[in-house]
Symmetry: C2
Subunit: 268 residues, 2 copies
């Protein structure tokens, strides 16, 4: 079990920021990543459809013998994790997700109890972050959808006057609410941390679900005594990147998100 | 000036975590990185020697036409920045460093005013972080040198029982002091954030100088209107990695720190 890969899944590319944080923190672990690009984006689909699609992809990871499933997708984290846990945890495979690690960190980080959340339109509309944050007393949550951000990231634009103007407009109500902590509730957004920090100002704490989820994975592997023995023997880990849709466009963008580990992208 | 590269310098490899954060946040910017590996580590040398060495390397960056110098080295940030600013800012070249961004973030982040700092022995002994943090009222600072951490990172070991035992021993007094915020005061340590977060517990905020320095660079470029126009025209940035010592060993480790951008390492 220890040397089995970690399974990571997203509707598309965004989850690669989570994969990268995991690979950074745990360079001895093998990873299988599936981007369900044939059905991306999940955000515009009915909840029942997302559940079916997400469980279908997670089944593929479990068939490949992963020791853990990481749902690196906000929409799937908001909709399919309960079912996934019922399905896989009885086989001894834990299911981790991206929302609760970020929520815990934000609640620890805030001084004034005013927390912002930015995400895609669908993630904001499901209200998952807002409910999770409101489960803590005395939190005042300001949520804002930033629909154009993903497109900027995928075009490789992370600065310049156009993006800064868009970011100013999106973030204006969040700033006006006086938040001291801002959750980046979309796995694409860590790549915009520069512009977001610039617009929000240096006093605001940014919480990246990618990094917090990686800490969660680390903790879970240590506590289960499931660390890959590669990490002490010096054997090379294996990285496998799979897409359900077109692999060529996935590969091009994936190298930008993650780096050289994306040598090839297979079809699943 | 806009399309000139950003110059980044460290005594060795650690500064590559800073370079990576800058490249992530500003993928349109060109970068020249020099690792003064022939004279590494700086930490054990007298202050006057470090100043001379550091200014010598920064001169090489300035000769190559950089628009900004980032001192991605804690020892040099603690000793050579004052002189570097005198020397280069009159030529219109700003000098940024890694200590003050991390200190500002830590002071913003703490709730209980108890902040930990971990770094190499020399950085702790210079007391630079402690003084910078104590410049803010009501901060109680616990500093701890973690001399073996760099070696673990350079051997690629970021988990396993040996490292966890060492981390527990180093971090025990920092935990005992009840800090709620911990500054990773060495540019190697972001690669150990998993084990450090595991040992400290999820409630403790980790502050990475790499990421905070990248935000500082972003802010400075936007405010000076110095962003590379590549970022909007889609032209490819150039990355140049140079070492004063052996380039082969630098290249091997550098790819682990930074990724595919380290295609080749030149001699300087």
């Amino acid at each position: 079990m220890n040397n089995a890969p970690i399974g990571i899944f997203d509707s598309g590319l965004g989850g690669l920021t989570v994969a990268r944080s995991i690979i950074d923190q745990l360079p001895g672990e093998s990873v299988i990543y599936i981007g369900d690009t044939a059905n991306s984006p999940y955000g515009t689909k009915p909840v029942g459809t997302v559940k079916t699609l997400a469980l279908n992809v997670m089944d593929k990871l479990v068939e490949r013998g992963v020791k853990m499933v990481v749902v690196a997708c906000n929409t799937a984290s908001a909709t399919a994790v309960f079912d996934a846990r019922q399905r896989y945890e009885e086989q001894g495979i834990p299911v981790l997700e991206v929302i609760s690690p970020a929520v815990h960190r934000a609640v620890s980080a805030t001084h004034n109890g005013k927390i912002g959340v930015i995400a895609t339109t669908t993630t904001i509309e499901t209200g998952t972050y807002q409910r999770a944050l409101n489960a803590y007393q005395q939190m005042q949550v300001t949520a804002k959808a930033c629909p154009a951000f993903v497109d900027f990231v995928e075009r490789g634009i992370t600065s310049g006057p156009e993006l800064i103007a868009v970011a100013r407009e999106y973030l204006e109500p969040v700033k006006a609410a006086g938040v001291d902590t801002l959750v980046l509730g979309c796995t694409h957004y860590p790549l915009l941390a520069g512009v977001i920090s610039y617009v929000m100002g240096p006093e605001v704490t940014l919480v990246s679900s990618a990094e917090e989820t990686a800490h969660d994975v680390y903790r879970s592997l240590v506590e289960n005594d499931w660390l890959n023995e590669n990490d002490t023997t010096g054997q090379k880990p294996r990285y496998e990147f799979l897409a359900t849709g077109d692999t060529e466009s996935f590969r091009g963008l994936a190298r930008r998100f993650l780096g050289p580990e994306v040598a090839n992208v297979g079809q699943v």
